[in-house]
């Protein structure tokens, strides 16, 4: 059909040089001109195919046509309501008149209701006693005839007035239609031999590619989408940041411990027991199981002493120590809880203890900086990092989640300086694509000095905080057993923030959690800082 139609268009054009109105064409096999809208759609398909080969050009004209409603279609098939009523009734005097209730049963409620009135008006039926009978011998069902004409031509010769009436009766609806004027194109020929669309194996074997004509490729069109999967955007940014750490010689810490004790999350870090971060308002506590097993006794005692009475050159907080606070279980509020545990393990040899099993996971590559001739105190330098989940007892909104990811780095070596930390931070953030940074003194219970890192945000045209850093306090390191000259740098930032900036996401709930649109994951670009 498609090919025959295209041939018809080309032949007609060849003969007439233009086709003024495609509604005058007779589709192949049709006995009437292609006046209906459906026919014109078929023609449009043929025209577009020829247009893509520049064989023709065409202009589009709009026209209103009419189509039948389901009720109209039924009338075409079974006759109008009034005709159906007339059909159901006996000729006057030749049978028992049909009462109104019985008519309803014969032709249905709707038809009886509408048809009776119109049949009376047309003088087709009349009353006899309680019933109805035919009064006209023959009838002409004009409505049906009109609708039949509309069905085949989309219009009515007798004019707009009747069309309007049929529209009002909801038997037809108006539809926008099109018809076309067709001219010859640059490549006009009456041959419909299609140019090839693609190079095939068959062409290679037969050598047909040498003589074939190829269809022009549409370079504006999109390619076929691939069918692969996708990685989540937050984890793509995690990957990029992890690579920065790995490139800089950092070993990833094991951090698979969402549940921590007050001891490891706070006490070991020299966070005072009365610190607001430990409030029920801010931290998720665990009801089942509620308490941890005690940590190593001697270490616990060194920690509680430095808090309550002071030690290692510190006055301590000199506030009452509550063992209960220490053993409370909670969801870690920062990955520094895990870092503290790793540092404690790192100091095992300094304490003269045997190293526990998974210490091997993080001290790789540390070269002892003990000078020749000095006794080895067991210290191994380490550069450690982690990117993992932390929890805060917050109500969720566009910028807060009760759980998010913290990026954390730790460098432990002898005689590290604040200048080292600042220099290191400049390099680290440069690797994240942040050139301009400055440092603000801040307060953090476990670092001294503590520095907030600010970066200049070009879009906002102001300095914004991008992370926190500092040197861990002696009150944290010395109870672990580190020698006095060992200093530890630590810094942290959230993973969500840079990801939201990278992808222009304003609502954190569309980045993390079940409300993340899968399409967004599928279509998020790669990350290169």
């Amino acid at each position: 059909m498609a090919e025959r139609l295209q041939q018809l268009v080309l032949d007609t054009l060849d003969a007439q040089s233009t086709i003024k109105d495609t509604r005058q064409l007779f589709l192949p096999g049709a006995s009437a001109p292609a006046v209906s809208n459906d026919d014109q759609i078929v023609i449009l398909g043929a025209l577009n195919s020829l247009l893509s080969r520049d064989m023709i050009k065409y202009d589009t004209h709009e026209v209103f046509t009419h189509a039948l409603t389901p009720e109209g279609a039924l009338i075409v098939k079974e006759g109008s309501h009034e005709a159906r009523v007339w059909n159901a009734l006996p000729v006057k005097g030749q049978g028992a008149p049909v009462p109104a209730a019985a008519l309803k049963k014969l032709v249905g409620d709707e038809t009886a209701k509408v048809g009776q009135g119109r049949a009376f008006k047309n003088g087709w039926i009349g009353k006899e006693g309680d019933g109805l009978v035919r009064t006209a011998e023959t009838i002409q069902d004009t409505t049906q005839l009109e609708l039949q004409e509309i069905e085949s031509t989309g219009s009515l010769k007798s004019g707009e007035k009747i069309l309007a009436d049929l529209r009002k009766r909801k038997l037809i609806v108006q539809k926008k239609g099109q018809w076309f004027t067709v001219h010859k194109g640059h490549e006009f020929t009456t041959s419909t031999a299609k140019p090839e669309t693609d190079l095939t194996t068959e062409m290679l074997t037969s050598g047909k590619w040498k003589t074939s004509k190829f269809k022009k490729y549409n370079f504006e069109a999109e390619g076929i989408p691939t069918s692969g999967g996708a990685l989540h955007m937050l984890l793509k940014v995690r990957e990029e940041i992890r690579n920065i750490f790995l490139e800089m010689g950092f070993a990833e810490m094991p951090t698979q411990s969402y549940v921590e004790s007050g001891f490891w999350c706070f006490d070991a870090l020299f966070v005072p027991q009365q610190h607001p971060a430990r409030d029920l308002q801010d931290t998720f506590y665990i009801s089942d199981p509620p308490h941890s097993l005690p940590p190593e006794k001697a270490y616990y005692e060194r920690v509680s002493k430095v808090h309550e009475h002071g030690d290692f050159g510190s006055t301590g907080y000199r506030a009452p120590w509550v063992p209960e606070e220490s053993s409370k279980l909670l969801l870690r509020t920062h990955t520094t809880a895990s870092s503290a545990h790793m540092l404690y393990k790192l100091a095992a040899k300094c304490r003269g203890e045997k190293v526990e099993g998974d210490e091997s996971e993080f001290t790789h590559g540390g070269k002892s900086t003990t000078e020749h001739g000095k006794t080895d105190d067991g210290f191994t330098p380490a550069k450690l990092f982690s990117i993992d989940r932390v929890f805060r007892n917050e109500t969720m909104d566009a910028t807060h989640l009760a759980e998010f990811h913290q990026v954390e780095g730790v460098v432990a070596d002898r005689n590290l300086t604040l200048a080292d930390l600042i220099g290191f931070m400049r390099v680290f953030f440069k690797k994240m694509g942040i050139e301009k940074v400055r440092f603000k003194p801040a307060y953090n219970p476990y670092t001294e000095p503590s520095l907030e890192i600010f970066a200049f945000h070009l879009m906002l045209n102001k300095w914004v905080e991008v992370g926190n850093s500092g040197m861990f306090r002696p009150e944290m390191l010395e109870p672990m057993g580190f020698p006095k000259d060992v200093r530890v740098h630590g810094w942290g930032l959230s993973l969500e923030r840079p990801t939201m900036i990278r992808y222009g996401i304003n609502n954190i709930r569309t980045l993390v959690g079940h409300k993340v649109p899968i399409d967004q994951v599928e279509n998020s670009p790669a990350v290169m800082f």
Binding site: L231, L235, T255, Y258, Q274, T315, P320
Partner: protein, 634 residues
């Protein structure tokens, strides 16, 4: 971090200099403050419109451990010193003309030890308030109450017009029905019992009632004529309330811990001693404890310590001389001088004023030196620490599964770890104790969404399917992440387990699709597929039909994994052969996870209208021990 609003014109006057907003922002930044807001523009706007306007303010965020920066008096004093415009003030105790004998006395009753044992006080003589300094005085007390005092729980402050009272005073604790007085801003007298009801509906005070409510006795302070001064930590009396015209101020402080008691009384007294006829003087008070011991408060004596230039240089990366360090410390209100008894000229005698209780250790002094030098003026060095980078075993393993599944056409999602009890158990028909007893439960969630740490990845994956109903079918999603179970053998009583899980959602359930996802993961991990009765196989995985109410009956299986035998020795080889013949090697097999077609009742609870299949298993057995490269042990 607390935010303090200070009057801009007053601050400029105190600093003897006007700053532009930008200049002041830089000064704050260098000192470790944060300028949140300058309301000047707002005020100008209001004035233009003829609206009532307050004086322009600066809203300054101060570090949480610097109680001496919680009021304009303290901020100005510290910045003036930082800018070398003035020396830090020296605070002095001044006795009344008659000396120690004329001191006001407060006796502490033994009953107070049951509820709020510690008491301190101070007197500010011949003070002159202005409306703004008066407001600042009230505001400082509020700031202290909200911060170091932990909402009055640990410490509470009361201030009184001393001229309305007569010494000596008594700090007692009495049953609430035996306490009766007219509280602040009320003319009627109430018993303490009645006050508890009266203040129940008070927005401010209702927050503090719980501190004493259930105690058999309430703390109470009386003067010589049995007039109430205050009922800490709830309310002062109306009788002794201070006004703009008050000349002599009595400050009472009650606490549960001595250190905070001293800090608070010292901060209130030192900050406002500025307005005394003789500035920076405080009159002490004699305290007779319940054991009869006599002490004097406040104790504003500074703490003397020694800092070392070598330590400061070594920590900061600077190479300053002692003579260069001393002025840096002075800028930070620390009275420093070169120690004459140290021939190496390394030691610095440091006198820490009572307003700086944030200094615990030499490292705090080192930080002050660094701030005074300027963090952003420090040299940019780079630590010489040489180490080798390495990912953790679990991350590496997770990444393998993540990438292989993504390559296989699956989309990674990232649901939350916390969920409701219902989602984690009931929705999956896992109501049996076998499931519910393993979970770690949260005691204090703010919403029901976070009652439990997930023990399975399924709720998060299914919620993601639910929220993505507009996505074209099939939905193919996966996650690798941790679940948490109780483990009473561990210090933390719980253990994370890395799981991998995937859900397929389409017009048909597609068990074989989800099975394929498992097979792909196993293939990439080089785990061969075996049959459950393959007793002669050393390692592999197989499925066995199982009953799990989360899955459709007959369409659920447990995934079993037989880990490879540990070491290949002649003996162990023989042992394995023997095991295989006796079919006992299956005892080593681990239940790795489950897969199946999800039960329609589960789908209904998660509001999913299409059939789904799911797989979830542990990755832990596949964790590879990382190489021991370059360790010092070798």
């Amino acid at each position: 971090m607390p935010t303090v609003a200070v009057d801009k014109a007053d601050l400029w006057e105190r600093l003897g200099q006007e700053f532009t907003t930008e200049e002041f922002d830089v000064l704050c930044f260098e000192y470790g403050l944060e300028l949140d807001e300058d309301t000047t523009e707002e005020v100008e706007e209001a004035k233009k419109k003829g609206l009532p306007a307050e004086r322009p303010q600066l809203k300054i965020e101060v570090p949480a451990n610097r109680y001496d920066l919680l009021c304009i008096e303290g901020i100005a004093r510290n910045l003036r010193t930082f800018l070398d415009k003035a020396k830090a003030p020296t605070y002095k105790l001044v006795y009344p003309p008659g000396g120690e004998n004329d001191l006001l006395t407060v006796t502490i009753d033994a009953e107070t030890q049951k509820i709020r044992p510690l008491f301190a006080c101070a007197i500010l003589r011949n003070i002159t308030f202005t409306p703004r300094s008066y407001a600042s005085f009230i505001d400082l007390q509020d700031k202290l109450h909200q911060n170091i005092c932990r909402r009055r729980q640990l410490v509470a402050i009361g201030t009184h017009d001393l001229d309305t009272l007569q010494g000596p005073f008594r700090y007692e604790a009495r049953p609430p029905k035996d306490i009766k007085f007219a509280p602040l801003n009320k003319d009627t007298e109430y018993t303490a019992e009645e006050l508890m009801t009266v203040y129940e509906s008070d927005k401010q005070l209702s927050k503090y009632l719980h501190i004493v409510r259930d105690s058999p006795v309430y703390p109470i302070i009386y003067d010589a004529k049995d007039r109430v001064l205050s009922m800490p930590p709830i309310i002062n009396s109306n009788h002794s309330k201070i006004t703009l015209d008050t000349k002599n101020v009595f400050i009472d402080v009650t606490a549960t811990d001595k250190t905070k008691l001293d800090i608070v009384v010292n901060i209130v007294a030192t900050m406002f001693s500025e307005y005394c006829a003789e500035p920076f003087t405080i009159e002490p008070v004699k305290i007779i404890s319940h054991t009869g011991e006599t002490t004097f408060t406040p104790d504003i004596s500074p703490r003397k310590t020694v800092a070392h230039t070598s330590y400061i240089n070594n920590c900061t990366g600077l190479s300053l001389t002692t003579d260069e360090v001393v002025p840096l410390l002075k800028k930070m209100t620390l009275e420093a001088s070169v120690a004459t008894d140290d021939s190496t000229k390394d030691s610095i005698n440091v006198i820490i004023p009572c307003t700086r209780p944030d200094i615990f250790h030499e490292c705090d002094i080192m930080e002050d030196a660094a701030i005074a030098y300027g963090f952003n003026n420090l040299p940019h060095t780079f630590p010489a620490t040489t180490t080798v980078g390495q990912p953790s075993a679990i991350s590496k393993l997770s990444d393998i599964i993540r990438i292989e599944w993504a390559l296989a056409g699956w989309v990674e999602v990232l649901p939350l770890t916390l969920c409701s009890l219902e989602e984690n158990f009931d929705y999956l028909n896992h109501t049996d104790k076998k499931w519910t007893s393993t979970a770690v439960r949260i005691a204090n969630p703010k919403t029901l969404e976070f009652q439990v740490v997930r023990t399975t990845l399924l709720p998060g994956l299914l919620k993601t399917v639910r929220e993505n109903r507009s996505h074209a079918l099939p939905v193919k999603i996966f996650e690798t992440g941790d679940i948490v179970v109780q483990d009473r053998s561990l210090e933390r009583q719980a253990r994370n387990i890395r799981h991998a899980g995937a859900v397929w959602c389409n017009k048909t359930a597609g068990f074989e699709v989800i099975h394929g996802v498992l097979d792909r993961a196993m293939k990439m991990l080089e785990v061969p597929r075996i049959r459950s009765d393959d007793y002669d196989k050393d390692t592999g995985y197989y499925l066995k039909e199982t009953e799990d109410p989360a899955y459709f009956p007959g369409r659920a299986a447990t995934i079993y994994y037989r880990p490879p035998p540990t070491k290949q020795t002649r003996l162990s080889e023989l042992k394995h052969k023997l095991e295989a013949t006796l079919h006992t090697n299956a005892r080593r097999d681990i239940e790795l996870g489950t897969l199946g077609v999800l039960h329609p009742s589960v789908l209904e609870k998660f509001d999913i209208g299409y059939p789904c299949s799911a797989v979830e298993f542990s990755l832990e057995p596949f964790k590879k021990e990382m190489q021991k490269i370059w360790t010092n042990d070798v």
